[in-house]
């Protein structure tokens, strides 16, 4: 219940400001409520007491069960009074008190009497109160009256019954659904509000009956809609009908003309609703969009903030799908940057950032700079994220965008805001190689004056990874060592690790790093001292300029080769004893992620939280795992590991997915298996692979999994040989074979020693051409295209046959080749008839490949494609054409 947020000021100077409820006390008011029991009722006095009770309830005062019951019983006595004002108060009071089921019976008869009263207003109010406090059984008793009320000639009675119906539909749908004839009649009512309420209820009753909704909509579009509110509802139902009809072509889109006509309605509410409905049509054409955008543009300069907000919010959504359609509004939108309402201004800016072209970036940034100083952090975060997307879209503009980010990083702001900026800079550094050095320096400057330990440590870690790879790593040392002098222990410890990374990676810096690390040996914090000692010893602290051996680097900075969750479980299970904890006892199998979790993580942009260069870290872990298996150690360097591909339906007995590991002359299937039956233990788990549809592959090794207990993932491997460097393709069918033993789930002990051999059919797995391509992007495609040269350029044209849209064709070719789309060219503007898509990647053998695809769509929806490939090897260029020709 309500609590007064601020204690009321009891001693105000101004007499007239005194509250009439000053000093009000629950006990006293409850005493006063005894007047309800007087034989001679004073309606005025009673109304005043009810007002006080309402005030108390609204102030968050709660009544005990006894108090509430007492008040409720007293209030019911007031039904004796014929005073209208008091009766109205009584109705409200009963609703506020929400009597319990056993008390309801007390008022039921009085309310039933009112419901059949000749006074319309008693009827309307009694319906509302009864519907508020009633349960299913009582409802069947009064259903007859409610049905009559719906078609009552008094609009207040009809509305009361209809609105009650809307509420009752949630609790007693089967009863309310029986009223549809009456509600249908009420839709034809001449009273505007009755029609509105009836329409809302009728739609809710019939919402699962598409045909009925469609009929209702057709009738109403031809008939009279009496209020803008009802018309708005109608437009919403129309959108739903259009959506469900699945029509995407202008010609057969029903009701478009009606929506378009609504754009000329006199009520702004209707115009806006129609405009929004049009913008949300699936596959909307620019011809359909134009009139809607025009009215929204007019709303942008409305004097009403709500209209401006509604318009800019809708245009912001349109800009995600059809940025070009919104560009006409850019001038109006720019003037909204200075709108007093910050929500409107933020929406305007983020829309402009979506629709802006490369040439307008600088002007826009100037405007935004002024704006940033006077908005709240949550709006700033939205802007920062929009700027990040803009920078990835126009990588050539990174200088001004990076400068903007570094400037706002210096200003005041909370943790989330600063983290958003730092994350953005990190992403830009990763995706735009040219931005690396300046970005790192901005981060260095930020940690000089950063109040957030978390951000400082994350940045120091990032510097440790990226700094040594720059042209002049020494310039970062000062910033890092300053942390050792100036910061708290957590940051100091991070700084020591970062210094050590520079020492390990850059041999020329080693002697100087050692001097600094030795100073850290006297730090007041033991973690800092321990780290310094560890690094000095492992890197060879005699200060000589020698190369750090790979083992030391791996030991110090390599990723932990066991999953953290497994390590955590093992540590929890470890009982303190003489025997030290052995990290080798920690299982290395990665538990497969639940699907929902996977989706959530995929959506996120990788910021500081995610491991740096995430894909390669994954490959590193796989490489380590595979090289530890003797059968595969001779295969050479791992070229690529695919994402896990599920071979079983979700929630089956055994969950199996496969990861394809591609080497130059081999391919290894890693089957990640999970046993989901607590009563079973699986042993000698292998996958029998039939490679008869993969002629170029021959199986050379298989590594079974000795034991697969319940809910502990395990892996089994099968390796194939294939012609070296050739992108051989094929289909492999899989069968899981194992010995199943029954176990007692409570103890985990095997009940029967002799198991049974069983087979379990899995889905097939394909090796496709895309498996031989690494998705590696370039920041500036044109430069990369020119620098790779036309020596091995191959151009050819292909017919892709009839397609739904260009987008479909573009996506098909991208997934066929498995390459990285560059500069956002994978997005095809809606309804365009031609498109150019730029792809880059590294083909097996480490050869860089660039592809320029030009698509065209003719009137019969046939797609033609011109494919230009440039690569470092002629054979690779030919192979790309072969892949496309055979795909």
């Amino acid at each position: 219940m309500a609590q007064p947020l601020i204690k009321k000021d009891d001693d105000r100077d101004d007499e007239s400001e005194y509250s009439p409820f000053l000093g009000i006390e629950k006990g006293a008011v409850l005493q006063e409520a005894r007047v309800f029991n007087d034989p001679q009722l004073d309606p005025r006095r009673c109304s005043q007491v009810i007002t006080k009770l309402l005030y108390l309830l609204n102030q968050g005062e709660s009544f005990t069960k006894v108090e509430a019951t007492e008040v409720f019983f007293s209030v019911t006595k007031l039904f004796q009074s014929k005073d209208n004002g008091l009766r109205r108060m009584v109705y409200l009071m009963i609703k506020e008190l929400s009597p319990s089921a056993d008390e309801v019976i007390i008022v039921t008869s009085s309310l039933m009497k009112d419901m059949n009263s000749k006074t319309d207003m008693y009827r309307a109010n009694a319906i509302r109160v009864l519907c508020r406090i009633t349960d299913g059984t009582l409802l069947t008793q009064i259903e007859r009256y409610l049905k009559q009320a719906i078609v009552d000639k008094n609009p207040v009675v009809a509305s009361a019954a209809l609105v009650s119906g809307i509420h009752l539909l949630q609790t007693n749908p089967e009863i309310v659904k029986r009223w549809s004839n009456e509600v249908q009649e009420a839709v034809q009512s001449r009273a505007a509000l009755v029609q509105f309420h009836a329409l809302a209820l009728l739609h809710q009753i019939r919402q699962n009956d598409r045909l009925a909704v469609s009929k209702l909509v057709s009738n109403l579009t031809r008939g009279t809609v009496r209020s803008p509110l009802a018309q708005c509802l109608l437009i919403r139902f129309i959108s739903q009908v259009i959506q469900e009809s699945g029509a995407t072509q202008t010609g057969d889109r029903p009701f478009y003309d009606y929506l378009e006509a609504c754009l000329r309605h006199k009520a702004e509410m209707v115009i806006f609703e129609a405009a929004r409905a049009i913008t949300e049509l699936s596959g909307v054409t620019s011809r359909e969009l134009t009139p809607a955008i025009t009215v929204l543009q007019l709303f942008l300069s409305s004097s009403k903030p709500v209209l401006r907000f509604a318009a800019v919010r809708t245009l912001n959504k349109v800009a995600m799908m059809h940025p070009m359609a919104v560009t006409n509004c850019n001038i109006d939108m720019e003037s909204l940057i200075s709108d007093q309402n910050r929500s409107i201004a933020t929406l305007a800016i983020t829309t402009l950032l979506k629709t802006g072209n490369e040439s307008s970036v600088d002007r826009l940034m100037k405007q935004i700079t002024n704006f940033m100083s006077d908005i709240a952090d949550e709006f700033k975060i939205v802007v920062v994220e929009a700027i990040r997307s803009l920078c990835l879209k126009f990588p050539l503009k990174f200088r001004s965008l990076m400068n903007f980010l570094s400037n706002i990083l210096r200003e005041e702001g909370g943790f989330d805001y600063k983290k958003a900026i730092v994350d953005s800079i990190v992403i830009l550094i990763r995706d735009i190689p040219d931005a690396k050095e300046s970005g790192l320096l901005h981060l260095c400057e930020f940690i000089e004056d950063c109040e957030f330990t978390y951000l400082s440590t994350q940045i120091l870690h990032f510097l440790g990874v990226e700094g040594p790879k720059t042209s002049d790593p020494s310039k970062y040392i000062r910033y890092i060592y300053n942390r050792v002098i100036l910061e708290n222990a957590t940051v100091r410890a991070s700084a020591v690790s970062t210094l050590a990374k520079f020492g390990a990676m850059v041999d020329s810096l080693k002697p100087r790093i050692f001097i600094l690390l030795r100073r850290c040996l006297f730090d007041s914090d033991d973690e800092v001292r321990d780290r310094a000692t560890l690094y000095l010893n492992t890197l060879g602290g005699d200060g000589a300029v020698v190369e750090t051996d790979e083992d030391s680097k791996e030991f110090l900075f390599g990723s932990l080769d066991v999953p953290l969750s497994n390590l955590e479980t093992s540590l929890k299970n470890y009982e303190p004893s003489e025997e030290p904890f052995d990290i080798n006892s920690v299982p290395k199998e990665v538990k497969s992620q639940p699907l929902a979790e996977k989706k959530a993580t995929n959506k996120k942009h990788p910021g500081l939280d995610t491991p740096l260069a995430a894909p390669s870290t994954g490959v590193d872990a796989y490489e380590k795992l595979l090289s530890s298996i003797s059968e595969f150690s001779s295969f050479g360097k791992l070229f690529k590991s695919s994402a896990p591909f599920e071979l079983t339906e979700p929630e089956t007995e055994y969950a199996v997915n496969v990861v394809k590991h591609v080497y130059d002359g081999h391919i290894v299937f890693q089957y990640n298996c999970t046993n989901t039956i607590p009563e079973q233990l699986l042993e000698d788990v292998t996958v029998m692979v039939d490679a008869s549809e993969a002629e170029e592959f021959s199986e050379i090794a298989s590594k079974p999994l000795r034991s697969l207990p319940y809910d502990t993932p395990g892996q089994t491997f099968v390796a194939f040989q294939k012609p070296e460097g050739v992108p051989a393709v094929g289909k492999f069918s899989n069968n899981l074979r194992f010995i199943v033993k029954e176990v007692d789930p409570s103890t985990g002990e095997v009940v029967e020693e002799d198991g049974m051999e069983e087979d379990y059919q899995l889905e097939d797995v394909d090796v496709v051409a895309a498996d031989y391509m690494l998705r590696v992007g370039v920041s500036n495609f044109r430069n990369a295209w020119e620098s790779i040269g036309a020596d091995f350029e191959k151009v050819d044209e292909y017919g892709l046959g009839p397609r739904e849209s260009l987008t479909e064709a573009v996506n098909a070719v991208i997934s066929l080749l498995g390459m990285q789309p560059c500069e956002g060219t994978e997005v095809v503007p809606n309804n365009s008839r031609s498109h150019t898509c730029l792809l880059s990647g590294v083909f097996i053998g480490g050869l860089k490949v660039l592809v320029r695809l030009q698509f065209g769509l003719d009137s019969s929806r046939e797609v033609a494609m011109k494919l230009a490939v440039r690569s470092e090897d002629e054979a690779v260029s030919d192979t790309i054409h072969e892949i496309v020709a055979s795909g």
């Binding site: 400001e17 109304s47 109205r88």
Partner: protein, 147 residues
């Protein structure tokens, strides 16, 4: 659904509040959020100037009338435009009941009548009446004139 209607004085003391479909444990959060929003933005606002905000799928429209701050929160069909319609009826009715844009004292003087009027305008999250003359009559249990 109209999720919340909140009326406070200019210092953020709650005078009237109605929540619909908002769990009890979330109400304090909403109350604090709305009062803070008003505290930040309504200070120099003009009478009945509308302010609007949205968070995910929820809309907030709020305004000031005399010394009183009015906040509405809605979702789905109660978007910013529908809420502005409701808030317009509320302000009109308040002016009508109080005779002028109310200060806190006047508002509390007419508290009973205001509660009744609000009960006619919004009933458990659904807008019910939109005409101030009709509301005026309904509060006195008089039938509307126009039928």
């Amino acid at each position: 659904m109209l999720l919340a209607m909140l009326i406070s004085n200019s210092e953020g003391n709650i005078l009237v509040e109605r929540f619909n479909g908002v769990p009890v444990e979330e109400r304090l959060h909403w109350r604090t959020f709305l009062v803070k929003l008003g505290g930040e933005n309504l200070k120099d606002a003009k009478n009945e100037e509308l302010f609007v905000a949205s968070h995910k799928s929820v809309y907030v429209v709020y305004t000031m009338l005399g010394d009183i701050h009015i906040y509405l929160v809605g979702k789905d069909e109660y978007d910013e435009l529908a809420l502005s319609e409701v808030i317009f009826i509320i302000t009109t009715t308040l002016k009508d009941v109080c005779g002028k844009p109310p200060n806190e004292r006047l508002f509390l003087d007419k508290y009973g009548k205001i509660c009744l009027s609000l009960d006619e305008i919004v009933w458990t999250g659904v807008m019910e009446n939109t005409d101030k003359e009709r509301i005026k009559r309904l509060v006195r249990l008089k039938p509307p004139t126009e039928f």
